[in-house]
């Protein structure tokens, strides 16, 4: 007699209870396909009606975004899907999906309809925040820290320049200098407070000093740019910080504003002009690439490393700088630069943008692995010894990720640290 094959009985209910366990919810489709009983175009329109959210309604489901969405690669997400979820009952202002986008811009890069998540996400998030809807607690904490302490880490303002005493070179503070400088260096919150960030900041100070750059920092007067908080929906906080920062920048005379972080570059270069601040702003990689001729003779020590470089979303896609970081790395004697599969325009996001920096625990519940882990694995697969970065969010993210993915042999170093190594030799 042939063995009797019996199919699993499907549960024909949206509210499913199996063996006494309530398994209702979006994930019960392993038991059955939930029937769509209503389409809700009004939920698409709800998003499109928010100023900034208009293009959400333009999606025609071509799905180009999905393959390049870094979140979809570790989960089930992407602009096209959000549109469909909205059409079938998801209110984006109340959905966890609202908080997964890192604003990496890879979807917009390929979208034929220019559905612009970089505008949509902050606008909808702001509405959610204003309406008192769910906001991940960690993100809330980062907002609160920024509002109270001037930085998302919640560190005291008066310790903002504490790092300079161990930098090994003099780091002038513009207020004390009491004279105009060529370069006002905006250090940023993570380089000021995070131990790995401080490593990069100190390296930067030594490099600028070695190059004889006339620079100064704001010291205790520096506060967070809050661009990522803006993208995470707290526009009011961003504006509050912006008003303060512009006032502070305008207090002193300087020719160019240099930033350690791509997010700050984006804020000061692309967003601050809307608030009346239009001054030259440059990322340190672009800045140092100008000094390659002076820099090369200083790079005396060989760094015999195979290095792969991770393009920060806000330096690359958002601001078009792909070459300067590579030129700097190639200038270091002994370095062999190898590329990851996804690089430059298609670089894979570390997960830190758009507020992702402060939502790791939350996003972990909605993805199979962290974006930083996916990227760390990609970096390791090139055979590189070093994953070089140029964004202060990334050092700590990738340092954790190489560990959690068993790739401890890959060093995560800021380009600044690598240049510093070559100038000073291994310390």
């Amino acid at each position: 007699m042939a063995p009797k094959f019996e199919k699993v009985k499907v549960v024909e209910k949206e509210h499913a209870v199996v063996d006494g366990v309530d398994i209702s919810g979006h994930w019960n489709r392993m038991f059955e396909q939930r029937v769509i009983t209503e389409y809700t175009p009004e939920l698409i329109e709800k998003v499109a009606d928010i100023p900034g959210g208009e293009s959400f309604a333009n999606c025609y489901q071509c799905a180009k975004c999905i393959a390049v969405c870094p979140v979809d690669i570790v989960g089930n997400y992407g602009p096209r899907k959000l549109y469909r979820y909205a059409q079938t009952g998801m209110d984006l202002t109340e959905a966890p999906e609202l908080w997964l986008c890192t604003t990496c811009k890879n979807c917009l890069r390929v979208c034929p309809k220019e559905v612009d998540m970089i505008q949509i996400m902050p606008a909808v998030r702001e509405q959610a925040i204003l309406a008192g809807k769910f906001v991940p607690a960690e993100l809330q904490q980062a907002f609160e820290n920024t509002a109270k302490s001037g930085n998302p880490l919640g560190q005291p303002q008066r310790k903002r320049d504490a790092w300079i005493k161990d930098a090994g070179v003099e780091v002038p503070i513009i207020k004390d200098l009491a004279r105009p400088v060529d370069v006002l260096w905006y250090v940023g919150s993570y380089p000021s407070y995070h131990p790995r960030g401080i490593d990069a900041a100190s390296a930067a100070a030594r490099i600028f000093s070695a190059l004889g750059i006339d620079f100064a920092i704001l010291g205790k007067e520096e506060k967070d740019d809050a661009d990522s908080q803006r993208l995470a929906g707290e526009k009011g906080l961003f504006e509050m910080m912006t008003e303060y920062n512009i006032e502070t920048f305008n207090k002193y005379e300087w020719k160019e504003l240099m930033v350690t972080g791509p997010h700050e570059l984006n804020a000061f270069k692309n967003v601050y002009p809307k608030y009346g601040f239009e001054r030259p702003v440059v990322h340190y990689t672009t800045f140092l690439a100008r000094y390659l001729d002076q820099l090369k003779p200083l790079l005396k020590h060989r760094v015999e490393k195979k290095i792969t470089y991770h393009d920060p979303c806000y330096l690359g896609r958002h601001n078009g700088e792909y070459e300067a970081p590579r030129k700097l790395l190639e200038a270091i004697p002994g370095v062999e630069l190898v590329e990851m599969q996804r690089n430059r325009e298609n670089g894979y996001c570390c997960g830190g943008g758009g507020g992702g920096m402060w939502m790791d625990s939350f996003t972990a519940k909605h993805t199979t692995m962290r974006l930083s882990e996916k990227r760390a694995m990609e970096a390791a697969s090139t055979g590189a010894d070093v994953l070089a970065v140029a964004c202060p969010f990334e050092v700590s993210r990738f340092a954790d990720a190489v560990k959690s993915t068993g790739n401890e042999h890959v060093d995560v170093l800021d380009i600044l640290e690598l240049l510093d190594k070559s100038i000073r030799g291994e310390q």
Partner: protein, 312 residues
């Protein structure tokens, strides 16, 4: 009108609090200067009231008053004060006294001073103000005044005695009360008992965020101590209420009380000032805590804590 001084004593679980005796002692001193009597007032049943060195003790012994009820207590005290017309009514600036002193002041239109640390013979009161940053001398106008006194301001012993109390019935009807006592709430078990710890690392608002509590935990771990805190840390949800030291928290008397980022509000001092060794780290060199601590340093608590971790 008399020159008597009424002391509203307070008790819980059959025991009078120290501040009751302190006030009776002070009242005696003032009464003799004013030519009046120090009258201890005991409101509520279930307590032996012959324990004061007062000139007399009135015990309003009514079952309806066996548990503290601000409405009932207020009505009783109001009636008593009206009847006795004393020169001064003394309350403790405590969880119970705070419900009554200002209420009575507004009800009767009688001046009230709070945070009273000392009272002169002319009834000039020295008060702590602005979180201990200031001290104010005020004198009440009129024939009657109310003083709400900080615990620990006067010696306890001067008020202890055995004056026989006169029991009276409640001077007012106690039915139709809007407030009803439901039940006592005992401290939640499960957590460590900070009153039993020999060493406490106590953190205040200066710790900045919940994440930073870890640093204190780590330091406490190295010292074999337990982490306690001032009220704001508990209110912020960074530590459970079982760790709160102070007036509304627990009173502790450890061998070591290492304070990180606590400025020393009077409410906190009340809970820890008898610790054997008090060391305070605070960035504000004028923090009141430095007047109480044995050792102090004006420094960043994070830096000190991190440096200590390396040395331990």
């Amino acid at each position: 009108m008399s020159n008597d001084i009424l002391v509203i004593t307070e008790h819980m679980d059959g025991k009078f609090s120290d501040v009751s005796f302190e006030m009776v002692g002070k009242a005696k001193e003032l009464a003799s200067a004013l030519g009046g009597r120090a009258v201890a007032v005991v409101v509520g049943g279930g307590v032996s009231s012959n324990v004061f060195a007062s000139d007399s003790t009135i015990h309003i012994d009514d079952a309806a008053l066996s548990q503290f009820n601000p409405e009932a207590y207020g009505k009783v005290i109001e009636a008593l004060v009206k009847e006795k017309s004393p020169r001064l009514v003394m309350f403790g600036w405590t969880a119970t006294g705070m419900d009554l002193a200002a209420w009575l002041s507004a009800k009767l239109g009688v001046p009230c001073a709070a945070y009273v640390k000392n009272i002169g013979a002319d009834l000039t009161m020295s008060c702590q103000a602005y979180g201990g940053k200031m001290s104010a001398d005020v004198s009440p106008e009129g024939d009657m005044a109310i003083a709400a006194c900080l615990a620990g301001s006067f010696p306890v012993e001067a008020g202890q005695g055995s004056t026989a109390a006169t029991s009276i019935a409640s001077p007012v009807a106690l039915d139709g009360l809007k407030i009803k006592f439901v039940e006592a709430i005992k401290p939640a078990g499960g957590d460590v008992d900070i009153t039993a710890q020999a060493k406490l690392v106590s953190i205040g608002r200066g710790i900045g965020s919940k994440d930073n509590v870890e640093l204190a935990e780590e330091l406490a771990g190295k010292l074999g101590a337990t982490v306690s805190s001032s009220r704001p840390v508990v209110d912020a949800g960074w530590l459970p209420r079982t760790r709160q030291v102070g007036k509304s928290g627990l009173k502790v008397k450890p061998k070591l009380y290492l304070m990180l980022g606590i400025s020393g509000a009077p409410e906190h001092l009340e809970g820890m000032k008898s610790a054997e060794l008090i060391i305070a780290i605070n960035t504000d060199k004028k923090a009141p805590i430095f007047n109480v601590a044995h050792y102090g340093a004006t420094a960043d608590l994070f830096e000190v804590a991190e440096a200590m971790l390396e040395l331990l």
